[in-house]
């Protein structure tokens, strides 16, 4: 049986090693390999080779396929001194990876040679614990969680759809949530608007939402806007800087207004709507699919468009559709998965059935089409009243 030293020698003779000079050339050249730091977390947090990803040696076999699905992908491994990464290279070769090198001398030599390093941003102990179930998901991980903490999502409405969206986004650690709502909590809201409670009756919904969300997660800053979104205030509200907008509005003028604003500001808009037992959700991503006006060039005449206040809604329905909106918003913030762009998801709670229809960008769309005819805010109330609009 070989001892450790003999085993290390044997492994090193079977893998490809590079020294720091060769490593520098490799990492500066086009077709840069995937740089994987296989050290432990406490070593990683003290500094790393720029652009490296972190997969501790103990998790390498289980996680590498996620990071490098293609066995032909070039992989550059390093640890502190080049021993753990040698064993790691051997394991990857056994897994079928064809282009793996290990840095002889490791990070210690790299740093001693004066080559660039960077200090990774990391979650502190408390956040690591709070978001541990996110950190465990390869598609999110620590970097993703840091991204969420840097993300800013604007919600239109702290009502049926806004309640579950805001709760889940706050729980997920989205760093800044803006809430636009000019309404007060009413008893008839509490059958579905789970942000609020009986003790909050008569309070501004945006304030009530802020209290609930900051109690759920103090990492989140909640910015309340106690006003109705209008052509006059939309630019001021958007100037506060938002990565994603969630549309949970209850009226057509607001939906057309936020659509136009989102197109002009190039902000993805996560749409949701509900009625009785049925709901719809989609993502309008400027430049990458249709907008709301491509889907519905005009609102229905008021007499044909009953609201939830008139038609009713099953209390849990906004819970489902609003949660879908939160899920889409998180994916957009993280840049993962396939968002609902160009697809309208339809949910029927009575039949417990999801279906989907395809949406296409309309090249003649007055706002996002090839030759837009609406380039500034219009009178949206008038536009939705059935009378001819200005634009």
């Amino acid at each position: 049986m070989p001892n450790y030293r003999e085993l290390l020698q044997q492994v090193k003779s079977e893998i490809d090693e590079v020294d720091v000079t060769q490593a520098r050339g490799l990492l500066d050249a086009p077709g840069r390999p995937l740089v994987v730091d296989v050290r432990e977390l406490d070593e990683w947090t003290e500094g790393r080779i720029p652009g490296a990803i972190h997969i501790p040696r103990g998790n390498l076999e289980s996680r590498i396929e996620q990071a490098a699905p293609d066995r032909a992908q070039s992989i550059f491994l390093y640890c502190a001194a080049g021993n753990r990464s040698a064993f790691a290279a051997k394991s990857l070769e056994e897994l079928g990876y064809e282009n793996v090198v290990s840095l002889a001398g490791g990070y210690t030599d790299w740093k001693r040679s004066g080559l660039p390093t960077e200090l990774p941003r990391t979650l502190d102990g408390e956040k690591r614990q709070r978001y541990s179930r996110h950190v465990l998901i390869p598609e999110v991980g620590e970097e993703g969680q840091l991204k969420l903490l840097d993300s800013r999502v604007l919600l239109l409405g702290a009502g049926g759809l806004g309640s579950p969206s805001a709760l889940y986004l706050a729980a997920a650690g989205v760093g800044r949530l803006g809430i636009v709502d000019d309404d007060k909590v009413d008893a008839s809201n509490l059958q579905r608007q789970v942000l609020h409670s009986t003790s909050r009756l008569g309070e501004w919904k945006a304030e009530s939402a802020k209290r609930t969300l900051e109690e759920l997660n103090p990492d989140v800053e909640v910015v309340p806007y106690i006003e109705r979104l209008t052509s006059e205030n939309v630019e001021r509200i958007l100037a506060d800087g938002w990565d994603v907008i969630i549309d949970g509005a209850d009226n057509f003028p607001t939906r057309y207004l936020i659509n136009d604003a989102a197109v002009w500001h190039d902000i993805p808009l996560v749409h949701g709507s509900i009625y009785r037992f049925e709901g719809q959700a989609t993502v309008f991503k400027p430049g990458d699919g249709p907008c709301y006006r491509c889907l519905f060039p005009q609102p229905p005449p008021p007499e044909l468009a009953p609201s939830c206040a008139e038609g009713g809604v099953l209390g849990v329905l906004p819970g489902i559709v609003g949660s879908l909106q939160a899920s889409e918003a998180l994916k957009l913030c993280l840049g993962i998965g396939e968002p609902l762009v160009g697809r309208l998801l339809l949910f029927d709670a009575l039949a417990t059935e999801f279906s989907e229809v395809n949406l296409r960008r309309d090249p003649n769309c007055p706002v996002c089409g090839d030759s837009p005819t609406i380039t500034e805010y219009v009178d949206y109330v008038e536009f939705c009243s059935g009378r001819p609009a200005h634009a």
Partner: protein, 90 residues
């Protein structure tokens, strides 16, 4: 025979049905068959002999406006979804 899915806000016009069978070889024939039996649907679906701009009609998941509109041919047994705009969020 094809099936037309009726959205919740239009079900009052068809006696509450979630789905209504209709006959026709084109979207036009299907819709006019439907509207012939339920005349109160007409102003909610068509305007100036075209599909109203606040309604979308999907044939097997595709917006018929991106196909051949009302003249799009329909295979027997197809599913058509009528989708008017819904504002509700609260």
């Amino acid at each position: 025979m094809s099936r037309i899915r009726i959205p919740p806000m239009l079900r009052g016009d068809v006696g509450g049905a979630r789905e209504v069978p209709a006959e026709g070889d084109t979207v036009r024939e299907l819709l006019f068959d439907l509207m012939g039996r339920f005349p109160s649907l007409r102003p909610q679906l068509v305007e100036d002999d075209e599909i109203a701009p606040f309604v979308n009609v999907y044939l097997e998941g595709e917006d018929v406006r991106t196909l051949e509109g009302l003249e799009t041919s329909v295979d027997d047994g197809s599913t058509v979804i009528l989708l008017p705009a819904m504002a509700g969020g609260f």
